[in-house]
Amino acid sequence: MESRRGARWWTLWGALILIWAMFPLLWMISLSFKDPNTFRSGAPTFFPKQWVWTNYDTVFSDSLFTSALRNSIGISLLATALAVVVAMFAAYAIARLDFPGKKFLLSMALGIAMFPQAALVGPLFNMWRNLGIYDTWLGLIIPYLTFALPLSIWTMSAFFRQIPWEMEKAAQVDGATAWQAFRKVIVPLAAPGVFTTAILTFFFCWNEFLLAISLTSTDRARTVPAALSFFTGASQFQSPVTAIMAASVVVTIPVVIIVLVFQRRIVAGLTAGAVKG
């Protein structure tokens, strides 16, 4: 059968895509289990000659990494929560209400999504030092919140448009104010969209590097991407390569779990706001 043969071909191509996506991860995992003292002796191989846990012990006993992990989790979660709340209000207004400045707000969000963050590094660096929030959680949360807002606003307003608004009207007919209708009727319906937006926003904060190295200087607020670039290994005599890979594996685990559990939602979220025919 022609179509069955065709289906087999597409599956083969799909398998190639999977290999393409997974191969670098395999290399990361393999390198993270190599012996930090001997992995460079002789010609390098793909898999370790001997699998060791040393690198994981190294990163978890290094305060540079553990504090960075704490900072990354805290900053990303707080920035995500704030961005989602702020964007939720704006997205509701955009999807639902008619008010002056709506077009301007949307254009501004679009502009910020395209904005080169590097152009702000200098002024923010100076402003944050004057405000005393340089090298603090707040100093990273504020810009993360800002740069996550455009994506959050679009994604959520796209989801909000699919909500059956008759229900809100019905609630208003029954005597609820617009605010009550929002809180009691729309919020439960909108929860999946909000959750998806939170995932995408979290990925953005978890990934961010430029602001993280520019607006921090110690392990008070330094996040994992920034800390990785400063990592020197267990001692100055040891190569940091394998330990950096172990730390990379650790911070990739949450990403893989989120992707495995919420694959459908992420795909829907990525494409919801962006393209409609």
């Binding site: 191509w13 895509i17 590097a118």
Partner: protein, 310 residues
């Protein structure tokens, strides 16, 4: 829709009630969007204006007292410096190559994800991992794979002692490769969303008319996806233009692999030269505006659907 037909029976709605409702809606709309608006202005618009102001001063944080107004001198300093142009060309090369490769690869991926029946969700899950991974981690993975003392690439390709990070072009190759691996999933999912929107009847009709698979692709599918393609292109181009993480981790800018974002970072944060650094920032911002303008006016990219206008 307004009808001009005179209605005899229906009494007009009392205007004050309507306008009060409208006013309430307006106030609520403004109130709900105010926090987002304020945060965005505070973190982007204000610092940008600040950068414009600083760019006209000779201002080093190492010598804050020596702050003097110098007019356009910082801009001429930057624009006559070969470093700016070298970084410009590097950024341009990385952007063009990665966006072109990603568009082709992303389209192929989208097509496979569209047609595949067995293992569809597995492929979609797998492709999301590079999307979610930290860019710095991706940079380290590729760096160590190509690096002489730790990497397997030279062994596998039989390249012996070839040092990938010893010269410009091979360094740019690895940097671009990491960028492509990490961001193709995003573009392919956007293209998949566009592909799904193409009416299947169009392709069936073309098939009945005897069009070949290639003709159907280039005459039916692609033209109908134009909006999706342009939006994906615009977003990826501007994203690639800001590239920073990969060159920073892989080469630290050695061998002419520094990009414009990297230059802005180095001037402002490493050298604390806020005057010249701000001039770089402002120029970088203008290049982005120029690219966006080219896409929107030049190629007719329709952003209304991205913006969510109704």
């Amino acid at each position: 829709m307004t009808t001009t037909e005179p209605r005899v029976e229906a009494p007009p709605l009392p205007p004050p009630q309507v306008s009060e409702r409208t006013r309430y809606e307006r106030r609520l709309g403004l109130a709900l969007s105010a926090p987002a608006f304020i945060v965005m202005v505070f973190v982007t618009a204000y610092p940008l204006v600040y950068a414009v102001v600083l760019s006209f001063y000779n201002y080093r944080l190492t010598d804050p007292e020596g702050r003097t107004f110098v007019g356009f001198r910082n801009f001429t300093t930057v624009l006559t410096d070969p470093v700016w142009w070298s970084d410009f060309v590097t950024t341009l090369i990385i952007t063009v190559v990665s966006v072109v490769v990603e568009l082709v690869l992303g389209f192929a991926f989208a097509f496979v994800m569209y047609r595949i029946l067995f293992g569809r969700s597995l492929v979609r899950t797998g492709i999301l991992v590079p999307y979610g991974i930290i860019t710095v981690v991706s940079a380290f993975i590729f760096r160590y794979a190509f690096q002489l003392d730790s990497g397997f690439v030279n062994q596998w390709l039989g390249l012996g002692e070839f040092n990938w990070f010893g010269e410009r072009w091979s360094s740019l190759f690895v940097i671009t490769l990491s960028e492509i691996w990490k961001t193709t999933p995003f573009i392919s999912l956007l293209l998949l969303a566009g592909l799904v929107q193409v009416p299947a009847e169009l392709n069936k009709a073309a098939m009945v008319d005897g069009a070949t698979a290639w003709q159907r692709l280039t005459r039916v599918t692609l033209p109908n996806m134009k909006a999706a393609i342009m939006v994906a292109l615009l977003f990826r181009t501007l994203d690639a233009w800001r590239i920073f993480d990969n060159p920073f981790i892989m080469t630290a800018g050695a061998n002419n692999t520094e990009t414009l974002s990297f230059l802005a970072y180095r001037q402002n944060v490493t050298l604390l030269n806020l005057g010249v650094g701000s001039a770089v920032s402002v120029l970088l911002f203008f290049t982005v505006v120029l690219i966006a303008f080219l896409f929107i006016k030049g190629f007719g990219t329709d952003l209304s659907q991205v913006r969510g206008d109704q």
